[in-house]
């Protein structure tokens, strides 16, 4: 369809919203290289020098370096565990036609309707009861559970598209069930695995409230999302340091997004609405 002159207001509105999205990012990036005085005087001016002083302060005052390591550790281990649980489960559900399997699948698809935040306090109790309170270990165990519904449903959808003959052929050659999973199903649903990994990478890396409550404020254990808001109070809000810290937490996500833009967009779109 052609877009006539009457679309002018639409163009203007859409691009103003786009500006609203991009300006804060620019402001953060620019301020990360400025002092408080410069930020207040010329909030949108380009920084005059590109020193890493603010980044260094952010690193030191909030122990961000350690926090990044903690976040990376939690994210990677939780991703491994998620795949370790979801792949066999999806494999089982995709292949079997029994009533039990479809009931299990239904349990997982209903999981979308359970917002992860709902049970914050009981989860905290669980952490205390298992003796894993104030540890990263509990988050590594807990995060995959929150990701299970989405991951299983996405993987099942991909595995259903794999023809049965593939498995039969492998069986002829004497493959065990595990070998079928490993050498037939996993290689053939790599796009699904990528989707699951990308989506969960985002949620795990960005997870805030549970990390705050369960891992707590101990600088040796806390993740970067928990460390970040502390910059607000420690420094009497030095905006240069605050923005430098924020930029730092965004870097991994931004790098992944830019490298895998198409795939990431597909993953986000297909992951959001699966009920």
């Amino acid at each position: 369809m052609k877009l006539g002159k009457r679309w002018l207001p639409a163009h203007v509105l859409v691009w103003s919203y786009a500006v609203l999205l991009i300006v804060p990012l620019y402001y953060f990036l620019a301020s990360a290289f400025k002092t408080n005085d410069e930020i207040f005087a010329h909030p949108f001016a380009l920084p005059t020098s590109f020193g890493f002083g603010n980044f260094r302060t952010a690193f030191d005052s909030a122990d961000l370096g350690l926090a990044v390591v903690n976040s990376a550790l939690v994210t990677v281990l939780a991703l491994v565990l998620t795949l370790g649980l979801a792949l066999p489960a999806a494999f089982a559900l995709a292949r079997s036609t029994g009533r039990l399997a479809s009931a299990v699948e239904k349990v997982f698809s209903l999981g979308f309707l359970v917002p992860t935040f709902a049970a914050l306090f009981p989860t905290f109790l669980l952490a205390a009861a298992t003796g894993l309170f104030h540890t990263r270990t509990f988050m590594v165990l807990f995060l995959p559970a929150t990701a299970m519904p989405l991951s299983v449903v996405i993987l099942v959808q991909f595995m259903r598209t794999i023809p049965k003959e593939m498995e039969e052929a492998a069986r002829m050659d004497g493959a065990s069930t595990f070998a079928v999973l490993r050498h037939v199903y996993v290689p053939m649903c790599m796009p699904g695995i990528a989707t699951v990994l990308l989506l969960n990478f985002l949620t795990f890396w960005n997870e805030y409230l549970y990390s705050l409550v369960i891992i707590g404020p101990d600088p040796a254990q806390r993740t970067v999302q928990v460390a970040l808001p502390t910059l607000k109070s420690i420094t009497g809000t030095d905006y240069g340091v605050l923005t430098a810290g924020t930029v730092l937490t965004l870097v991994p996500v931004w790098v992944v997004y830019t490298l895998l833009q198409k795939r990431m967009q597909q993953a986000l779109v297909s992951g959001a609405v699966k009920m």
């Binding site: 609203l20 804060p24 306090f121 299970m148 959808q157 049965k164 069930t177 605050l242 297909s270």
Partner: protein, 312 residues
């Protein structure tokens, strides 16, 4: 509800036909269902268990982690219902949902329609719309903190155009604190929701819009009277998601930006759950509000589902 945005390569969904007797004999059920057990157990222990525990703690009198626990029955319900803070929280949550949700969905739908028409620059727009979906809650909150704190961007901008009298401590003023939180929801929500709509609208056949144009319908009418009914179901699902995210997720924004204050002017239900559990240490109260929140979520979901039921 079914998936409406199939993953790539999902075009050849196999419908298993009835297996022939020979095939059944050749490949007996090759086990493997047991492989789903670990994932299921994990899910039940870490997600469903705690969810059930909410209802248990809600009937307990439990004034702090290390305090003795006693059975309270409906005592907590009475305390909660009689508490003016709870009533404020209900009101704030209702206002938040009533303003944020319609604005978000309507704007996102129109924006999604705009992007789906592939106007010049739509690729750039699409790239930008994903931004709120990528950045974490603390980072989003820091953006708003930098913009709205007393010496932040908004006040600076007002002063520089000579409207210094309009400056305010936006996040610390009873009249604007809640509005700031709603603005954050809307700012972050529109972009990502619009992308979802654009993806779905992209799969509506072009002929539909073209036919409407031939009949003399403009874009406005095509958008609302032709395309909207087609993806009505999908709009419902997205609305349900945003409803849940807003209802349950607001705790994090409140915690990071206003702490529920000043007074209780920006306390939402989900923040009240957090605050009573981890700050005020009134655990029975907290989880009673949790039950209320859960029921509100359920009722809201059913209502939205009904409102968006496909009706052609």
């Amino acid at each position: 509800m079914t998936t409406l945005t199939p993953p790539p390569g999902d075009t050849t969904v196999r419908r298993p036909g009835p297996p022939s007797a020979a095939a059944v004999r050749r490949s007996p059920r090759q086990g493997g269902t047991v492989l789903a057990v670990p994932a299921l157990v994990w899910y039940l222990v870490f997600m469903v268990g705690p969810l059930i525990a909410i209802f248990v703690v809600a009937v307990l009198h439990w004034p702090g982690m290390l305090q003795p626990v006693s059975f309270a029955g409906l005592g907590n319900v009475r305390t909660v219902l009689g508490d003016p803070v709870f009533r404020d929280a209900v009101r704030n949550t209702a206002v938040q949902l009533a303003v944020a949700l319609p604005v978000m969905i309507v704007c996102a739908y129109m924006l999604g329609y705009y992007v789906a028409q592939k106007p010049p620059g739509h690729r750039v727009i699409r790239y930008l719309l994903f931004i709120p979906g990528l950045i974490s809650t603390p980072a989003k909150a820091m953006v708003f903190y930098a913009a709205l704190s007393p010496d932040g961007l908004a006040n600076g901008a007002l002063e520089s155009v000579g409207l210094g009298s309009l400056t305010d401590a936006w996040l610390a003023s009873p009249s604007t604190a809640l509005a700031c939180l709603i603005a954050l929801d809307v700012w972050a929500g529109i972009g990502f929701t619009a992308v979802l709509f654009a993806a779905r609208l992209g799969s509506v056949p072009d002929e539909l819009g073209e036919a409407a144009q031939l009949d003399g319908a403009g874009h406005w009418r095509t958008m609302w009277l032709v395309h909207f009914p087609v993806i009505r179901d999908y709009v419902g699902v997205v609305t349900m998601l945003q409803f849940l995210w807003t209802l349950f997720g607001s705790a994090q924004h409140v915690l990071l930006l206003t702490q529920g204050g000043p007074g209780s002017s920006s306390t939402t239900l989900s923040f009240l759950v957090y605050q009573k559990a981890f700050i005020a240490a009134d655990l029975g109260y907290s989880q009673t509000v949790g039950v209320v929140l859960f029921l509100a979520g359920l009722v809201g979901l059913l209502a939205i589902r009904r409102a968006f039921r496909q009706n052609y």
